[in-house]
Each structure stands twice: as C-alpha cells, then as structure tokens.
C-alpha cells in the first residue's frame, strides 16, 4: 500500500523504485495525490436519534476515474516531452518481446528508445530488452493481470525517458484485463500471432476495440498452418473499423518496415504542436 496516494499496490514491484513510506510523487497532476478531502462535520450531523434515512444519490462517475487521472498525468508528461508511448497487448507468447528486440535493434540508430516491461513474476523480458542496449524497467504485477496508470507513473520516475524518444510498454500477457486500463499511451497495439485462432478478435472484442493497430505476427509460419488472414482482418474490422492491420514476422523481419513507418508517422503526430522537440 502506497501511503502517499493510498493506492493498493498489492504485490507490485517496480525495479529500482523504493516504495518507502515517505516518497514524493514528482509526476505532476496526479489529481488524488496528497489530496485530503475536507468533509466538514457541520451542524447537519445533529439528527433525531433512532431515525434512519435512506436516500439514493445519483453519481454517474467513471469507476476507473482514478486510473484515468494517473493515465492523464502520464499522457501530459509524454506530450510535454514529445515522447511516443505505445502499449503493446497480446496473449502470452504472441511475440511482443521478440518484436520489441528486433524493433529496437532496427530503430535505435535513429531514436532513443526505452521499454517498460510488465510481467507477473519474472524479469526475463527486461533482460532480453537490455541485451539490445535499450533502457528497460521491469514491473512485476504479482497476481495483478495488467499494468495500470499509477505503476507506469512510478516507472517513469525511474526510467526517465528522454525528450522525443520512443517508449514501448509491454503489458502483461492477457487479452482481457489490460483493455480497461489506460496507461496514458498514444496507441494500444494488439499483437496476434497466426498460431492463435483467427477468431480471437471476436472472442476478445474489448481489446481489439481499444487497439488502433493490430500486428499479425509470425506470418513466416503461414505456409504450415491453415490460418485465414483475410478472415481474421475481417473479424478485427467488424469490431473496430478504425483498426489498421499489418502482417509481420518478428523473427524473419518480413513486413517490419511497414510497422516502422507506422511508428515514425505516429511519432510525427505526437510531436505535432510540440515545436520544442526536434523531429
């Protein structure tokens, strides 16, 4: 439990983040942080004893508003520094880490890149990323099945991604839970490998609805499978007409150029209106 923000962090462990009880939150705009609600004990407290009143209070407020505030603070941070943040989501084993290591190797000559790795238990993925030379920070969520805006906010304090850089966030392998939690990213990128069912988009509509890009990975294996690519894309578009689909192989490199072009174009968008950061 974080005593400053009162958040139940459960078993979350963020590498290099000493979550001591006196820590200061530097990320601005964390609406709830350090905020004491002043519910005055006014005269309204006096009432006839034994009389119990019941009343309905209409609220209509977003249950994830607290997460959304953290995510909003992260998003402002990214905007100020001209950082393109992408939230990579998929089932376990779809190839997120493999895709990232290749992407980093191919793009690191031109861009500063850092990675936040979410995993329930291990730090293996962050080690795989660091082997490429990029900055990486592992978050272990324990039993938690997704990253949230608050964890990412803390990770940013340690990771300190630089101005104009690319930040990839590999979410916990899970196509359900991460859909509901905004991290402040510019886009969610869903990765689906051709060794999974082509109907995954209709089985997990929340996620494919929330994603702006679907990477269909492991296409090098297509000749050995009867995966219907057209059908898969059709399913994805039924759920999300905005979704863009790119076919890639993170191991052979096929199709990766289009993914890089998408990243560069998205970065331009992220930088638009931010003249302080050189493109």
């Amino acid at each position: 439990m974080c005593t400053v923000c009162g958040c139940g962090e459960g078993e979350t462990k963020i590498e290099g983040h000493e979550h001591d009880h006196n820590h200061h939150h530097h990320h601005d705009g964390h609406g709830e942080h350090g905020h004491t609600h002043d519910y005055g004990q006014g005269p309204a407290h006096a009432h006839a004893p034994g009389l119990s009143q019941s009343r309905m209070v209409q609220i209509e407020q977003d249950i994830l508003s607290k997460n959304n505030q953290y995510a909003g603070a992260n998003r402002r941070y990214f905007e100020q520094l001209g950082i393109l943040a992408l939230n990579l989501v998929s089932s376990p084993g779809s190839g997120k880490t493999t895709l990232l290591t290749r992407t980093i190797s191919d793009l690191m000559a031109n861009y500063a890149i850092s990675v936040i790795e979410g995993d329930q238990q291990t730090a293996n993925d962050a080690q795989r990323i660091r082997a490429t030379g990029a900055n990486a920070l592992q978050i272990n969520t324990g039993k938690g099945c997704h990253l949230d805006g608050h964890m990412v906010g803390h990770a940013l304090e340690t990771l300190k991604p630089e101005q104009g850089s690319l930040l990839f966030i590999e979410n916990v392998g899970n196509l359900v839970c991460p859909a509901a939690f905004d991290l402040g990213e510019a886009h969610k990128v869903a990765i689906l490998s051709v060794t999974e069912g082509e109907d995954k988009p209709v089985k997990y509509p929340d996620m494919f609805h929330a994603a702006d890009l679907m990477l269909l990975n492991k296409i090098d294996l297509l000749p050995h499978l009867d995966f219907d690519v057209e059908r898969c894309i059709d399913y994805a578009q039924r759920i999300n007409p905005r979704i863009k689909v790119l076919q890639v192989s993170a191991t052979t490199g096929e199709g990766m150029e289009a993914w890089y072009q998408w990243i560069v174009a998205s970065r331009q968008m992220a930088l638009a209106g931010n003249p302080a950061v050189p493109a």
Binding site: M56, G144, P241
Partner: protein
C-alpha cells in the same frame, strides 16, 4: 481477474461519497457496465462479495446494469443496437460504424443510510 481492482476503485469512490454525505452505511450500489468495458458483470459481483468486507458497503447489494452496444453508421447515418463482436450497420450492413455507447463503466448511484 482485474474485477477485484475495479471493485476496490469503485468502493473507494463509494466510501468518499458516503463520507461526504455523512452516511453511516450503504444499502445499494448501482453500476452501469458496457459490454466493451473489459469488465464481466458476474465477476464483478463475485469480487464485490470479497471486496466489500469491512467497508461502509459491507452489507450493500450490488446491482449491475448491462448497457447496450449502440452504434452509428458513418455511411447511412442509421443508429442501431449491435453486439460487441459484430458492430455492423443494421440498415446498410457497412462496417464503418462509430460507437455511441457500450464501453462505459460507471458508478451510477448509491443508496445511503443515515442513522
């Protein structure tokens, strides 16, 4: 199973409201859940029975109102109900539709008791 963390977030809001309204306990909580919210109503209700213990809502009931997915067609302008995995226009069959509702996760209302 992120329904437990969703439940905790919801209960934190309910606690704040109860405190603000100087209620002694909460009788009922109504949440509105869209099929595309990422939350399964049944799992939320299960998580609630665990999460409510010791809170101001320890004896509260949780009502989950499932919302409809509604879309608007960008081609013909029709507005229709859709299913979360088939968001196609009911009039012209086009897939280029826009979500009007169905991804919400709202704390709609609470029934408070003041004693």
């Amino acid at each position: 199973m992120h329904e437990l963390s969703v439940c905790q977030a919801m209960l934190a809001q309910v606690e704040a409201i109860a405190k603000r309204e100087q209620a002694s306990r909460v009788e009922r909580i109504v949440v509105r859940i869209g099929p595309l919210s990422g939350v399964v109503p049944e799992l939320l209700r299960q998580a609630f029975t665990i999460a409510r213990a010791g809170s101001v809502a320890a004896e509260a009931e949780l009502d989950t109102e499932l919302q409809q997915v509604r879309i608007r067609c960008r081609q013909c302008g029709a507005e229709c109900a859709a299913s979360s995995n088939r968001m196609i226009c009911c009039e012209c069959g086009d897939f280029r539709t826009q979500l009007i509702s169905g991804d919400e996760l709202l704390l709609a209302s609470v029934e408070l008791i003041r004693e």
